[in-house]
Assembly symmetry: C2
Homo-oligomer: 286 residues x 2
């Protein structure tokens, strides 16, 4: 890998650029973003070497193309770049929903004469977005998930090399089937996000401007609503492309909260605390 | 204040002892806990000077009595110590629910010949309990709420001094009416706890032993379930004594989650994110 094109130089894309640099990537990093301001920040922070206004040319002339925008933008790029990339290239991404992306990718990549494709998803992020918050260390101790195409031939050298870079960023990698990825992420990532959004929105509706509420809220409130700051622009695409799994997890939590509410004064409450205690006693990284 | 008796030397009680020592309290700190192990840890960590097996004598012979066990234990101590304490003494507490405590305290304290009483509640804590986790710094930058008795005469010197100590611990103090305290705390403290408990219990039910789920879960999951480790022994009393307000906040969140679930693919989702973003943009400490 001598040349990489990062399409989307927001928080994740720019963090990948910074992580490549920190790990002494010797090649060239091209960057493009639909928002010129983000692109400028990524360039000035050294996350990319060259800011381009022509993402297609940058992609076509790179060894690896990293799609790092919201899910719908990734789907569009897959369609657009599919006919243009060649079998000497690798396309990968960082989208949070892998079913739709893998399905679209399978039509465009991994076949004879087509570029290789390795859909990916780093389990890392922040509630703030934008290249100004990017960090080389963002991926340290995170898991970088891959959902290899079912149709794909044996891994190409670029695929192997990309996995090595990701490992150098400090990630453990894990391969999953796309459907299982989306189901698991609905529970461990999307549900926490939507609960934080709902709780924050509810509190804003009920207490906007109440200084006492703000003064009293401690670590519990800050943590449980931190993700309330997350941008709609990213999560809209997740909600649209993993709807069923997210709705399932939300419904299950609604029912669980109802159960707890109906048992605030019964011994069933102890069972809920016991289960919750057990969940937290289990180690998060086996 | 020359002598203080801390009844309940768990996380909060022992942290108060450590904070007093850090702030050069020159007097004697007596400690008692129904669990001899907790008492031993508090003593060995220097949170108390003297471990007693006779809490009544310690209370009667102290200037200030701090009740630092679960809410029901505080109610019992109020009843038991009411007739024994005198107008030269102050009784205070750290219970999370103030309506029940203030009502019970008003019967026993604040009248002619009775001890002064200043119910309190530091908005600080951890998901882990016990004196081994106590820290002098636990209260730094927190708010210590007080709900003075309606019947109370002007603040006694001990009351003023206790407020000064709390300020030295690093707290800002805020006085609230007990009913308003319980309503606000239902939303900013109890709701986050019960949501974390429900989410943790749900995930344990659904994914117990699933190594992939554990591996994938990142900061969002860890944060949103951290309070799942909280002890039933403490929260049972909160659930029993602030039931109505907690049930109201849980029901409101259930409805909000349902709304969000039904609008995963509509523009209403943007409204929820906008409100949530606004909540997080507001400062937590005015």
């Amino acid at each position: 890998m001598d040349r990489i094109a990062i399409l989307g130089t927001g928080l994740i894309g720019a963090s990948v650029g910074l992580a490549l640099r920190e790990q002494k990537f010797p090649g060239t990093i091209f960057g493009w973003d639909k928002d010129p301001a983000q692109l400028g920040i990524a360039l000035s922070r050294g996350a990319i070497d060259e800011a381009t206004e022509d993402p297609v040319t940058a992609a076509v002339s790179s060894d690896v193309v990293l799609l790092a925008g919201p899910v719908f933008s990734i789907l569009e790029w897959i369609d657009q770049l599919g006919p243009l990339l060649t079998s000497r290239q690798l396309i990968t991404d960082v989208g949070s929903v892998k079913g739709a992306i893998s399905e679209r990718a399978a039509r465009n990549f991994g076949g004879i004469g087509q570029a290789a494709c390795l859909p990916g998803h780093p389990m890392a992020g922040k509630e703030v977005h934008g290249a100004e918050h990017a960090e080389a260390s963002l991926f340290r101790d995170a898991v970088w998930l891959f959902t290899p195409l079912a149709t794909a031939s044996p891994a190409t050298a670029l695929e192997t090399e990309w996995r090595e870079w990701v490992t150098k960023f400090g990630c453990r990698t894990l391969d999953l089937d796309p459907a299982r990825h989306d189901e698991l992420c609905a529970w461990v990532s999307h549900l926490p996000q939507f609960v934080a959004t709902a709780m924050s929105a509810l509190l804003e509706d009920k207490f906007a401007g109440d200084a006492d509420m703000r003064a009293i809220g401690g670590r519990a409130l800050r943590e449980m609503t931190r993700l309330g700051a997350s941008p709609y622009s990213m999560w809209r695409d997740v909600a649209h492309t993993n709807t069923e799994a997210i709705a399932g997890s939300l419904l299950a939590l609604e029912q669980r909260l109802m159960h707890l509410r109906e048992h605030l004064k019964t011994p069933e409450l102890r069972d809920e605390f016991d289960l919750a205690n057990r969940f937290r006693a289990g180690r998060f990284r086996p």
